[in-house]
Symmetry: C2
Subunit: 487 residues, 2 copies
Amino acid sequence: MSTDAPATTDAAGTPADRLTAVLAASAASARPLAATGPDERAALLDAIAGTLDAHADELVHIARDETHLPEPRLRTELRRTTFQARLLADRLRQGLLTDVRVDHADPDWPMGPRPDLRRTTVPLGPVLVFAASNFPFAFSVAGGDTASALAAGCPVVVKAHPGHPRLSRRTAELLDAALSGAPAGTFGLIEGVEQGATAVRDPRIRAVAFTGSLRAGRRLFDLACARDEPIPFYGELGSTNPVVVTPDAWRRRAAAVADGLATSFTLGSGQFCTKPGVVLVPDAAALIAALPAVTSGPMLTPELTDGFHAALADLTATPGIEVALRGEPTDAGVPAPVVLRTDAATVLADPDILERECFGPATLLVEYASTTEVHDMVAALRGHLTATVQAGSDDDALALALVPLLAEHAGRVLWNDWPTGVTVSDAQHHGGPYPASTAPATTSVGTAAVARFLRPVAFQNVPDGALPPELRERAPGPRLVDGRPQP
Amino acid sequence: MSTDAPATTDAAGTPADRLTAVLAASAASARPLAATGPDERAALLDAIAGTLDAHADELVHIARDETHLPEPRLRTELRRTTFQARLLADRLRQGLLTDVRVDHADPDWPMGPRPDLRRTTVPLGPVLVFAASNFPFAFSVAGGDTASALAAGCPVVVKAHPGHPRLSRRTAELLDAALSGAPAGTFGLIEGVEQGATAVRDPRIRAVAFTGSLRAGRRLFDLACARDEPIPFYGELGSTNPVVVTPDAWRRRAAAVADGLATSFTLGSGQFCTKPGVVLVPDAAALIAALPAVTSGPMLTPELTDGFHAALADLTATPGIEVALRGEPTDAGVPAPVVLRTDAATVLADPDILERECFGPATLLVEYASTTEVHDMVAALRGHLTATVQAGSDDDALALALVPLLAEHAGRVLWNDWPTGVTVSDAQHHGGPYPASTAPATTSVGTAAVARFLRPVAFQNVPDGALPPELRERAPGPRLVDGRPQP
């Protein structure tokens, strides 16, 4: 979105005053927070999860008012959010979030005598998190980036999303309460577009995490790169999450494909960064005929509704793209779900069509006439969060060939599944080549996300007692010792 | 350095023609190279090491002519370079270079049923490596970045350093021969400042690795960030590698400190990125008196000699900084080693003094009068590759307090050791906060360096036979399975 609502003035004064106070407190908390051990950080994450769960009714009520999302979805999302914090707490206690390596001194090391060298990670320092509109819990104030940064030992400054200001403030109050045992300044909330941009440029901020539009995200990325001291910018800036339906899939699983697509592209009114927005199909007319009735609820904000209509208008103004199906609006002012249709020739003449994200309940079917066209379109893809193949059987030759090719353009590859619904686990990867992520080696979901806020440090010849605890000779936990993994 | 020698025209035509051909071949090789398995890549690295070792006499001879570095140092450096390739080959075979994670489907996963999800890494694609002048083997054509990128499965384009053009071309020929079994285009060499900058902007290049000056590196970093599709830029841009000598160290280990410093700051004529350039000492006069006679050989290039004199002149023009000791030049035109001296008050009034790298045989002693001054100077540090404490005993309270504080500003912290001489191992970390590295989560030395050229991909619900081999159910090798490390 291009504009925020004006930030309110609260007890701490103007938004600018608040920003000054939050940044100072955040910087002051960095060292004491870095000095906490994994058990202490785990306790903080558990406290956050417990506090949010204890206030679930209140939070879901505010969220429903502000976002128009249905209550069951909000309860599921809050459960996911607190689960995420608890999973990171578990992994901290298991010693799984740091890649500990120990190389003992070795006079016979082939390149010459090796000193004792031990590697762990340290937190980067204050992290600025830009909350997203579409997941008011999971990608907002107490969302994945906040939990990951705290697990890493970094103070967090969240720039609230103006789509749910009351929820943001109430969540922040609850975080403050849950973090009462942590160093003052461990968490802070700021509001306002200008304050966010100012914070990106502030030397006390050491990393930025952002989920949102390409336009807003790229602007902030550019600010982060242009600093006297550039900092890591973890931006998730857009994805159309291409799906390929093979001819064999269409022969064997037409109903499953049609039902799955209808559910997936309208889930959350299409306001998922993993919404399948482009679907390569062998027979568009048949798929359209097979689609069940689609419906969609209100969008999160008027700005998103306007953006959806504008993106749709842009797409339908493109020669060769037409509206194939328009669902029923559930209510006045609520966008109807839309299925667009084009063909491979149109797309191959202008492959940018594959990248035009239409954030809301719309998807574009692209009919292909040959396997060659499928391969050519896949080769033309840029970076995406996900790419999906709908296969016939496990012997589907086209589907098998596509798996490694889709992996060239996406952070997650799915087989006979749908990309919406992102589980939180150790093997999850939510990222991908630009613009899916500005940092394609990192993920914003799952336990590997913590690495975004850590930096390795090697300790050479340091006496055991002066080492960080996890590096000491008798420390428990998994580590790589002299090239051998120790579980 | 600010200028390259004009690139020569060779059989492939002008440097611009060569660039065009190299980039096209590199892009064409990306997919077949990505499809190779770890054993195949290990064989390529072993072939490179074997070929370079077999031509050691010839290569060292050329290197000595072009760089003026002494033969024993060059032989050691070449041995390190081939060791590095072989160590990566070993680790590839052990499955240690990819963080494999497997989460089996779990209907009872607390946030909701979990699909089968498996995570591995894929290569980024063609990597552009800017060779450094100061390590004509270890950080040049066949150096660490080249070996790491090949281990990751990425084609490599090296922009040769003009300080050793014949060595660069001959090394490239030997790489071509060693890589005869690899896809055509797996390796390519380009020359010329303009060609390098053009390649950074080329969409076929997917990552850049650079070791050199802050000025040249920042310019290229800015180009990489400004691309339509920004790419990771791994730049090592400078470090003064601060050393703190505690009062207790000076009381107990004065001779060892003086001897160690004299050796370390003049090693390789001070042309090491880990040269100790700033030394905080309790008694500068006593240290100067205790220093053994220091000498230094010729520098690598006339440009570096000029740069050294200019940086020295800058420092000595700063009020409060004086030349305390000037060694004997070994030859006409060879810079004499220089020890500069100032005090903590001068530095605390202008902490930028701590960051002014003087690439060559010089070091700056900063005399402090109190522990408070030490802490204040350490707090004022920016980012460095290394930071060292020279301690008295293992009970030295100041030294113990400094270890975690120095870790806030450096990628490697040393205790009673010297930063020059960077071992290649699993626990090594050669990086640090900006400007030591533009990507402080990554290293340019050691086996963890391979991660710079990899990107994770998760596979959801993909049949076993369609998975990358390392993700299959019965694949050998270390992995994290359902949250439990399997060695």
